[in-house]
């Protein structure tokens, strides 16, 4: 059994980030985009925890991760409010239809 090291975490984190970014870019559904954002935040969390465990040997990263989780919750609340507002304005939650900025 191979040792699980820092590099594994970082790779997983990078994969998570890429998946999140892909979701944010390609999902039509605003809720899907929100999920992508959660993935990106969690990839960052994974990095924080991994680096605090393997490099710094403190709990600073874990504290930061906790903060990010809280922040993500808040963000989800705000973002869902935006999605609701969007649905009220456009009749759907398709990000491609919300192009008012263009005009």
């Amino acid at each position: 059994m191979m040792d699980v090291g820092l590099s594994h975490f970082v790779v997983v984190s990078a994969l998570l980030f890429c998946l999140g970014l892909f979701a944010v870019m390609k999902r039509r559904n605003a809720v899907g985009i929100l999920m992508g954002v959660e993935l990106i935040l969690n990839s960052a969390n994974l990095n924080f925890v991994a680096f605090s465990r393997y490099v710094q040997h403190t709990i600073d990263g874990q504290i930061m991760a906790t903060f990010v989780i809280v922040l993500a919750a808040a963000e989800a609340a705000v973002a869902l409010a935006i999605v609701l507002a969007m649905f009220r304005n456009f009749g759907n939650v398709n990000a491609a239809t919300a192009t008012s900025l263009k005009r």
Binding site: V24, L101, R103
Partner: protein, 712 residues
């Protein structure tokens, strides 16, 4: 009674006389419409006050009995470093007499106008102008230097213009005032040249300093003659001497009180006053010209007066003739009798014009062919008119006789000394014509049968405001001479020939050399000789005519003989003239119309006033028209050509410049805009409004940045 006034008091009085009519002018001009009686009482009382002050000054000089006594006061008005112009007033005997003449006639005319102009639409304006005129005329009299003399000279010209054209709605009046003004401009042009010549040569404008300069020879010879003739041109214009007399008969278009005040008594006498005042500035040659001009005017005007039928025009030509006498007297070197005749003439001619006004007021016509038999209807007018006529005719005992006699005597004396008899002959013939035409007027207007019964029935004596001035002036016309000639009677206290040597002693000329051209080329050696010559600048003949030939014993006899002869002749002429008129116009022994038919040429010339107007129409006016046509052609062809050419050139240049603008500058601007628009069109696609597209850009950019970071 002690009448002594300090010099300050005299100056203050004189200033008050100057300012009172001005105040009357200002008040009536600005507030006349709002005042009761349209403010005529202001004019009458203010000028009346000025009159009383003038009497006060007159009495002072009467007591002084010294013609050379004078008071001067002034201040520097303009100081330009190199030269300065003073404003000042001068009061001496001559001034006090002139003040009396001007204020007396002006007061009577103001009073008379309240009756004559009653009910006129611009009644208050008339009084304002009268006040303005009186102010300007007094300014001429009081001025002590040529500059202010000129200023007031122009102001009386303006007043004359305004008053001749008072009935400006009449075409003839509007033309007459233009004619008067323009004719005066010709004279004033020469006057101004004369003033400038004196100023350039001597550097001063003060009368007495100028006399001292002339005495010292700073200005002499031909230049002095021409400068003097320049000044005399002013007199030609203002005193209506030939050939600039044409405006005065037309000036009769003005209201009659104006004719009396301005065109008979005062303003037209300003030229005579000016020459008499500046007498030492006229060289012998200039004086000879003056004498001939006066003589010819006296004669020619008298002949024209023989045939005119307009009451006022006859008087106008008579005025010309009398002014001719005064000028002739000046030319003969007798400025004292000229001033004396001016004084007496002001009284009786002012009176005659006022009676004319009274007659015109009564019959509403100026033509003597509409009158006749008026003496019964208008007794006061008739009696005062007779006083004026007899005085003008030169009947012994009335004022005109003494002054005219003095003038004829001096002119004859001049002829006996230097052989120029022509002025005297013209004068004595005019003395024959004067009573003739005056009595022609008298018999036609006041005697005989009424020519127009309707007008006759309508005629009535004028109100007291008009008859009181008539009576006042009639009394003066009788007594003003003091029953003596100028050099023996009261007038000698007020005016005497200038004692130029004494004046020169009061105004030492520091050095004649630094005063420009004239003195410089005279040089040292000539200066001595010149000085000897200039001791009596007017030569022997004038010393004689002045009648003060103490050092010339023989000349005194000539003067005396001349006076006696002239008096005899003039009395004979008066009797002949009156009898002639009586014969023709009262007894009708000769029918003037038959005479007229037998001498059609003479009649045409006289009735046409020697065709002076036609002559000027053919020469001066034609030349002016031709010249203005030429100027207009020059304007049209050359000036307009230049302007249009410049315009065309500018258009061409601007067309090229416009094309450059349109194609090059606009092209550059539009090009930039087009490029930017194209770029915008392109980049517009980038902005989709989709948030995810932007995120792709961000991610791609970050990737690129990382890549760059990595590679570099």
């Amino acid at each position: 009674m002690n009448l002594a006034m300090s010099e300050n008091a005299i100056i203050t009085c004189a200033l008050a006389i100057l300012v009172l009519p001005l105040a009357s002018y200002a008040l009536t001009f600005f507030f006349g419409k709002k005042l009761p009686r349209k403010g005529d009482f202001i004019g009458v009382t203010f000028v009346g006050a000025a009159w009383l002050l003038a009497i006060r000054i007159f009495l002072q000089f009467w007591q002084q009995s010294d013609p050379s006594f004078r008071v001067e006061a002034g201040f520097t008005w303009v100081d330009l470093g190199g030269f300065s112009i003073d404003a000042g007033i001068l009061v001496d005997g001559m001034t006090s007499v002139m003040l009396m003449v001007v204020t007396t006639v002006s007061f009577f005319v103001h009073l008379y106008s309240t009756g004559y102009m009653h009910g006129d639409r611009r009644y208050e304006r008339f009084f304002a102008f009268l006040g303005f005129f009186t102010f300007s005329m007094i300014g001429i009299v009081l001025s002590n230097n040529l500059f202010f003399l000129y200023v007031f000279w122009e102001l009386v010209g303006l007043a004359s213009y305004l008053l001749i054209g008072f009935f400006f709605h009449k075409h003839s009046a509007a033309n007459a005032n233009k004619k008067a003004f323009l004719t005066n401009r010709v004279g004033d042009w020469g006057f101004w040249l004369g003033i400038l010549t004196f100023f350039t040569a001597t550097g001063t404008l003060n009368y007495f300093e100028l006399f001292a300069h002339v005495h010292a020879g700073t200005i002499q010879g031909t230049l002095l003659t021409f400068a003097g003739l320049g000044l005399f041109m002013g007199c030609l214009g203002k005193s209506a001497q030939m050939p600039l007399h044409i405006w005065l008969p037309d000036a009769m278009e003005g209201p009659t009180p104006v004719s009396a005040l301005i065109h008979a008594a005062t303003m037209v006498a300003a030229g005579v006053y000016m020459v008499a005042r500046l007498f030492p500035l006229f060289g012998p040659t200039a004086l000879l010209v003056v004498c001939y001009v006066g003589g010819i005017t006296a004669f020619v005007a008298a002949t024209i007066a023989l045939v005119k039928t307009d009451f006022k025009r006859v008087l106008a030509f008579s005025t010309l003739s009398q002014l001719g006498y005064m000028v002739m007297s000046l030319g003969a070197g007798d400025s004292v009798n000229a001033m004396f005749h001016l004084t007496t003439h002001a009284m009786f001619k002012g009176l005659l014009f006022l009676t004319a006004g009274s007659v015109i007021h009564a019959v509403h016509s100026q033509e003597i062919t509409d009158m006749g038999g008026l003496r019964k209807k208008m007794p006061i007018t008739f009696l005062t008119y007779m006083v004026g006529t007899l005085a003008l005719a030169g009947v012994p005992g009335l004022s005109g006789f003494y002054s005219k006699d003095g003038i004829l005597g001096s002119t004859l004396a001049m002829g006996m000394v230097n052989g120029h008899y022509l002025p005297f002959i013209l004068g004595i013939v005019a003395a024959l014509l004067t009573p003739f035409y005056m009595f022609r007027l008298t018999f036609r207007a006041f005697f005989g049968k009424p020519a127009d019964q309707e007008r006759y029935d309508h005629a009535h004596e004028s109100p007291w405001t008009m008859t009181v001035p008539l009576i006042g002036l009639a009394i003066l016309a009788i007594f003003v001479s003091g029953f003596n000639t100028a050099d023996k009677g009261w007038f000698s206290k007020f005016a005497a020939p200038y004692d130029v040597a004494a004046i020169a002693a009061q105004y030492p000329i520091e050095s004649a050399g630094h005063h420009l051209v004239v003195a410089e080329h005279a040089g040292e050696s000539h200066a001595e000789a010149a000085h000897a010559e200039m001791v009596d600048p007017h030569g022997g003949e004038h010393a004689v005519a002045e009648g003060h030939g103490e050092e010339h014993g023989g000349h005194h006899d000539i003067h005396h003989t001349a006076h006696v002869r002239a008096m005899m002749m003039s009395i004979a002429m008066v009797i002949l003239g009156i009898l002639g008129a009586w014969w023709v116009y009262f007894l009708h022994r000769i029918d003037p119309s038959k005479l007229q038919a037998r001498l059609p040429g003479v009649y045409r010339v006289l009735q046409g006033q020697y065709f002076f107007d036609e002559l000027y129409a053919a020469t001066v006016y034609r030349f002016t028209l031709w010249w203005s046509h030429l100027c207009s052609a020059f304007d049209r062809i050359v000036v307009d050509g230049i302007v249009n050419g410049t315009g065309y050139l500018t258009r061409m240049v601007s067309f090229v410049s416009g094309s450059f603008d349109r194609y090059v500058v606009d092209g550059a601007v539009n090009g930039v805009a087009a490029v930017l628009q194209g770029a915008g069109e392109g980049f517009r696609r980038v902005q989709t409004g989709r948030i995810q597209t932007y995120l792709v850009y961000v991610a791609a950019s970050v990737l690129i940045l990382i890549l760059i970071y990595r590679v570099l």
